[in-house]
Each structure stands twice: as structure tokens, then as C-alpha cells.
Amino acid sequence: MITVKDLHKYFGKNEVLKGINAHVNESEVVCVIGPSGSGKSTFLRCLNLLEEVTSGEIEIDGDVLTDPKVDINAVRSQVGMVFQHFNLFPHMSVLDNITLAPIKVKGLSKEEAEEAARPLLDKVGLSDKADAYPESLSGGQKQRVAIARSLAMDPKVMLFDEPTSALDPELVGDVLQVMKDLAKEGMTMVVVTHEMGFAKEVGDRVLFMDEGIIMEEGSPTQIFDMPQHERTQSFLSKIL
């Protein structure tokens, strides 16, 4: 589903990604862990071209994103992204947040888009919040709306960048539950997270990133219980 070959990313002279190679199969859930500043977000953002790639190749479901002729907006509309800080549109109701892209990008009518949005709100457990505005929601609710908003575009892949790290601990569970449900339905997911419980339970594979490369990868058990690399060990000992 996703193939990344020798991905490099510079910010000015600062090389942040130093040759990433990765592969994500259809319906696979890949968790990315690693210390702050190691390039996890940058890697994820390259996968929907929110960052301009310096060199290397990214292919998602047959589309070569790094081809200069690629229709960026078409690619992005098939790759959902959930951000750490939700990034809901504060001037729109929950329903409008969800229907904006289907209407403007996919060309659905308002009625069609709203009809499609209802089951998504159900799925994230917020059917009663359709007309609410983001400011009246808790962090966990906001993140679940953000997930529904991404799903409304019917993406082939969902990217999550630390989706629970801005949440109060008691709100994390609901968001993770929604993500688990998605994984069960067969969604292909790349998740930057430090929720080891989540990674162990639903992750098919874990990538450990450090200093712009993937230092180590393997099944959750391999990475969490028998990390090989010394950097992985010291990182895990700090966060566990």
C-alpha cells in the first residue's frame, strides 16, 4: 500500500530525514515511536506531501507522490491525517467540519455529504454533537470529530500524529477505542504514538525512529520486549 524509498528531507541545511525506507501493507497498522525531534512528524507529513520531499520516492496505492506531475490534492484526499492538536475548524459546526471536504473536493451535494456524515458521527460516538461547535467539546471529543472528518473523504490510508498526547489521560481511552475499531475494519494506518498498550494490542509492526532514520523495526513484542538496538533500549527505558 505504501512504499517509501530512500526518503531524505532537509529544512534548509538541517537534514531531518536521512534515508527512510519503509513499507506498509494494506490493512496493516504500523506504529512509529522515537524520541522528540527524531523526525516522526516530518516523516508522516511527507506521506501526504504537507512537507516537500527533498529526495527519494513515496508510493501510495500506485500513485507516486514524489512524481512532480502528481495531482497533490487528489493524493491528499485519499490520505487522511489526524493531528495532535485536532485542528478542527472553530467557525464551523461539527457537521460542517465533516462535510466541508466531501462537498468541496468530492463535489457531493450538502444533503449527500450530511447523510454520509451521520454514520461517521455514530461510529465515533458523537451523533448528538452534529450541531455543536468545537469550542464546546472536550479534547477527546474533538479528536474523535477530527477522525470522523478524515474518514468522510473515504481515505485509503489514515495517518495519526500523536493523536492522544494532547489529551487528559481520562479522555485517551475513547480515542484509542475509535482507532482500534478502525484497525479492525481493515483500515491501513500509520500511527505516531507513545501509547505502548495501543501499539501492542493493534499494531502489526513498530518502527523506532532516531535521528532521522528507522533504527529498528519489528513486531510490537520484538520491539518492546526484546529491543536489539541500544538506542531503542534506552528510549524505552525512559518512557516505560
Binding site: 490534492n73 491528499r76 484526499s77 493531528f83 485542528n87 472553530p90 466541508l100 468541496k104 473536493v105 473523504m153
Partner: protein
């Protein structure tokens, strides 16, 4: 008592000043309308990734902000038209142009600041969903930014309104010009100028009070 008032210059200057008010209002509104369009273009221009566009926009803003309004008015009325183009545009057109160009530069800063103040994540969320740059601007950034622009735009309205008084130098019969004409004939500068100031205050004070309330309500 009433007769005394009716015979005073306070009372008698009023019809002249009110005639001036019509010009003041007309030029302020026409100038600000065009100024807002200029401000939106150059404000967004300053944020443009294109080096040429952002530099041009910055030059415009800095030139206008760094020169006196009076010089700008004379430049547009006399310097440009008589000096360069060779013919005379009428004083009203020159006035509206001067207010528009002047306010446009300040509004450009307002627009730039408001758009810049919208969190980067808003833009990213829009682009990540597949919206184009233009759609993201139109449906996500601009509505939020516009709300933040309202109080400073109101403030600019007050400033431009007062700036129109400078147009008296090119004989636009706005409030100050009318007042001057009146007191030159009647030798009543004190009474007339009290009325001139009151006339401005009747507009500016309620506007400011309303803006302050609006600012609280919008919470910006």
C-alpha cells in the same frame, strides 16, 4: 435663550458643516471600499511565497506608512496628474484615490496580521483533506481571519474619516473646508471649530464605543 442660540454661529454654521459632512462621508466610504480591496490584495501579497509579490507589497506598505498623508494627497492630485500624466484629474477622484491608497496600506497590515494569526494547523488540516490553497483560504482561513479584522478595520475607519479633513487643501468641500469658509466670512473661528470638532466626535465616539463592545463580544 433659544433666539440667542439661533442667532449664534454655533447654530448658523451647522448647515454648512452638514453639507461638508456629506462629502466627508462619501469620500471616506468610497476610499475605504477601494482601500479594503487594496488591503486584501497587498496584505495577502505580503504573505505570498513569491518573492516579487511579497517585496512589491512590502514596498507599497512601507512607502505609504513612511510618508505624510498630506504629501500623498498633493502627490496624487498635483504631482502625478499635472506633473506626469499631463492632465488634471478632478479633486474628488484624487481624494478617493488618496484615501484608498493610504488606508489600503494600513489595511494590508491588518489583513496580514489577521491571516498570520490563524494557527498553521488550520491551513494544514484543510490541505490535508485535499482542499486547494484557494479553497483553504476561502472556507477556512479567511472567515476566521475576517472576524479578527473587524475591530482594527473599525479603527481604520475612524482614522480615515479624520484624514479626509486634509483634503481641504485641494478644496474638497468637506467639513473642515466648509468650516474655514464659514469663519473666514463671519469671523467666528472659535464657535465654528467647536462645531467642526463636535461633528467628528458625534461619529467617532459612538464608533469607538461600539468597537470596544464588539471586540469583547468577538473575544479577539
Amino acid at each position: 435663550m433659544i433666539e440667542a442660540i439661533q442667532e449664534s454661529h454655533y447654530y448658523n454654521s451647522l448647515p454648512f458643516l452638514l453639507k461638508g459632512l456629506r462629502w466627508t462621508a462619501f469620500i471616506t466610504f468610497a476610499g475605504l471600499f477601494i482601500g479594503f480591496i487594496l488591503g486584501a490584495i497587498f496584505g495577502l501579497g505580503r504573505l505570498s511565497k513569491s518573492k516579487i509579490i511579497s517585496t512589491l507589497s512590502t514596498v507599497y506598505v512601507e512607502v505609504v506608512r513612511g510618508t505624510p498623508m498630506l504629501a500623498q494627497i498633493l502627490f496624487i492630485y498635483a504631482g502625478l496628474t499635472k506633473g506626469i500624466i499631463g492632465f488634471n484629474i478632478d479633486a474628488v477622484t484624487a481624494s478617493i484615490t488618496a484615501i484608498a491608497i493610504n488606508a489600503g496600506a494600513y489595511i494590508a497590515e491588518i489583513v496580514r496580521g489577521a491571516v498570520y494569526s490563524i494557527e498553521k494547523g488550520q491551513h494544514e488540516a484543510g490541505r490535508a483533506m485535499g482542499l486547494t490553497q484557494r479553497q483553504t483560504m476561502r472556507y477556512i482561513i479567511w472567515p476566521q481571519a475576517f472576524k479578527r479584522m473587524i475591530p482594527p478595520l473599525g479603527n481604520q475607519f475612524v482614522i480615515s474619516l479624520k484624514d479626509t479633513s486634509l483634503l481641504s487643501v485641494i478644496a474638497i468641500p468637506e467639513i473642515v473646508y466648509q468650516g474655514k469658509q464659514y469663519y473666514n466670512i463671519t469671523y467666528s473661528p472659535f464657535q465654528t471649530l467647536v462645531m467642526v470638532c463636535l461633528l467628528y466626535l458625534v461619529i467617532t465616539i459612538p464608533t469607538s464605543l461600539y468597537l470596544r463592545r464588539l471586540e469583547r463580544k468577538l473575544d479577539v
